[in-house]
Amino acid sequence: MLQFLVRRLLLLIPTLVGISLVAFFVIELPPGDYLTAHVANLAAGGDTIDQEQLEALRRQYGLDRPLVSRYFFWIGKFIRGDMGMSFEWNKPVNELIWERLALTFVISLATLLFTQIIGFIVGVYSATHQYSLFDYIATGLGFIGLGIPDFLIALVIMWYAFSKFGLSLSGLFSQQYQSAPWSWAKVVDMLGHLWLPMIILGTSGTAGMIRTMRANLLDELRKPYVTTARAKGLLERKLLFKYPVRVALNPFVSTIGWALPGLVSGSTIVSVVLSLPTTGPLLLRALMNQDMYLASSFLMMLSILTVIGTLLSDLLLAWVDPRIRMGGD
């Protein structure tokens, strides 16, 4: 187990270096930089900025240096925990992103938990009651859940709540807590708002989980050992949970690895629609305005957290399944 852990941790290093390169250079791809975008915005508003001032700003932000030296400048500070300044907000990136990153992960983890629990219960029930009415309904809903884009569900639910009940479901906090410092009451308030993004983000994931769980368990239930156990008179409930469910759970655990990046991705768009105070809306703005340190840091942090999440799920899988632990790869 220790060897497995060490090898996985060593593999993280090249991955992280690669991610930092992608995060930085992708942001540098668009022609021009923040200042050209800024000047264009000013010009659109009928404003101008004189050339000398522009050059001074460019020097101040380090935009006049060559690309490679800017990368090392950025990554060197990044490792020490300084993510540079956001041009647009005129604030250190550090101040802007942590709370949003934390909220992104709270939402993603809550959704993951939701999909796993619902997927497990419905999947087991569907498999043990194959071809029952409930099974058909679950399968049908699952297919629809896979087909509808998350942001469309968000739009439809918001529209329905707004036109029928006059409710505005956007945001993650009630008005009075929006800019309030963190307190117990604010956490409770957030939990009250969390269910909507959780359900919206969870639909496609849950549908996938139900299908995986159902198919795995059905395969397992057909095996001779189940028949043997039943012939020996084992209680049906005990028979189900003692072996088949545990074996079927295995691929289920491994899905956490890819479900997490998917959720982080998906929450980006849903957050824009629901105007949640997570990374999504801010990343979108930063990308549009070429606010590069902010955008790069977001991309980098989201990727790092995803990589760590995947690592944790691999470790979990290795812990559950000795074949992986022993086999090494």
Binding site: T15, I19, I144, L283, L284, T306
Partner: protein, 378 residues
């Protein structure tokens, strides 16, 4: 599973039954028999044929030019088509009378039953160029005179006909998945295939690269890449940039499938015997290995198209993908981003139904193809 059981099972799917038929059937015939039993896949297939017909003839099917606007009819509601009017049987829609609501200051439309707008099939209407080449003015249906507008699915904020825009948007949305998948197929088969065939260090490096690309959350990466597409590029170039961006991540999934197939097939007896009789490596790959996993490739390709359609829709919805004046379903849904306009004009969500329909149809078809790809399995 023994041969006897296998043949018995295959007999069930063969038309008319009978062992003889199964024994002489080709691989593709067995697949077709199996596929035919998957009812939902057949339905999905027909829906897709319909959607691609719309894609081909969208200019002719659309009653109006999708860019024709009339601000007088901003957010006009969908008009119902009636079959029986004052002059007897025929297609009619009642006219709309707009007036400004004194309180909210926005246009409110009422149905004016005294005005009947006759609808005709094959009418002369707005000029268009089919596929950008063949000029024409004939439309499948529309108001008898082109001055009158009938909004079957309502109008958007500029008073443009949503039905026409939806039909024309089908072209971009339905082809972007195909083009993107073709591109990922080339990468996936080349890189995945070579990685599975040669193995060793090369294989390890390719696998690490694939793992690395997959570890970056896709939508933020897509957003960053599409934000890099210059704003002043012409629509066609933007279209191809977006497909390249979409296939940048999705080839990895396909490469894995191909590699897995290559690894398992390499050990098969028929590859060994081909090698023993002196076939060249190239001949073994092209003549023996590729045909035996081609069906799997087609199935996984089909299953990766809906993801692409959804991604294009999401990106365009955020304003990062296809940009107006080009039209795609995502561009149309962008109008629905604002809760107030959706509350005012719920029909703006209709393009979403088209997205769901296309995605489900592809999923069903892909499921059926995947099951049929291996006719010997249960």
């Amino acid at each position: 599973m023994t041969d006897g059981v296998l043949v018995n099972e295959l007999e069930e799917i063969a038309p008319g039954g009978g062992q003889d038929k199964v024994y002489v059937a080709t691989q593709w015939q067995l697949m077709w028999w199996k596929f035919r039993r998957h009812k939902m896949a057949i339905v999905g297939g027909f829906i897709l044929i319909g959607l691609y017909l719309i894609t081909i003839f969208c200019e002719f099917l659309a009653p109006y030019d999708p860019h024709r606007y009339d601000v007088k009819f901003a957010y006009a509601q969908p008009q119902r088509v009636h079959f029986y009017g004052q002059n007897g049987l025929g297609l009619y829609a009642y006219g709309l009378v707009g007036h400004r609501d004194p309180e909210s200051l926005r246009m409110v439309f009422e149905v004016d039953r005294s005005v009947e707008v006759p609808l005709r099939f094959l009418v002369q209407g707005d000029p268009y160029k089919l596929w950008g080449l063949i000029p024409g003015t004939l439309h499948l249906f529309g108001a008898a005179s082109n001055d009158q507008v009938v909004f079957v699915l309502g109008a958007d904020r500029l008073g443009r006909d949503l039905l026409s825009r939806l039909l024309v948007g089908t072209r971009v949305s339905m082809t972007i998945g195909l083009v993107g998948v073709l591109m990922s197929m080339v990468f996936g088969i080349l890189i995945g295939g070579s990685s599975g065939y040669f193995s060793g260090v090369y294989d390890t490096v390719v696998q690490r690269i694939i793992e690395f690309i997959r570890s970056i959350p896709s939508i933020p990466l897509w957003m960053a890449l599409s934000a890099a597409v210059p704003k002043d590029w012409p629509p066609v170039r933007v279209y191809f940039s977006i497909t390249i961006i979409l296939s940048f991540i999705s080839w990895t999934g396909l490469a894995r499938v191909v590699r897995g197939k290559f690894l398992s097939l390499r050990e098969e007896d028929f590859v060994m015997s081909a090698r023993l009789v002196g076939s060249s490596e190239f001949r073994i790959i092209v003549r023996h290995m590729v045909p035996s996993f081609l069906s799997h490739i087609i199935a996984s390709l089909t299953l990766s198209i809906p993801g692409m359609i959804l991604s294009e829709t999401s990106l365009s919805f955020l304003g990062l993908g296809i940009r107006p004046p080009a039209i795609s379903w995502g561009v149309l849904l962008q109008d629905a981003q604002n809760l107030r306009s959706v509350a005012l004009a719920p029909w703006l969500l209709i393009p979403g139904i088209a997205v769901v329909l296309a995605v489900l149809a592809y999923n069903f078809l892909g499921d059926g193809l995947r099951d049929a790809a291996d006719p010997y399995s249960r």
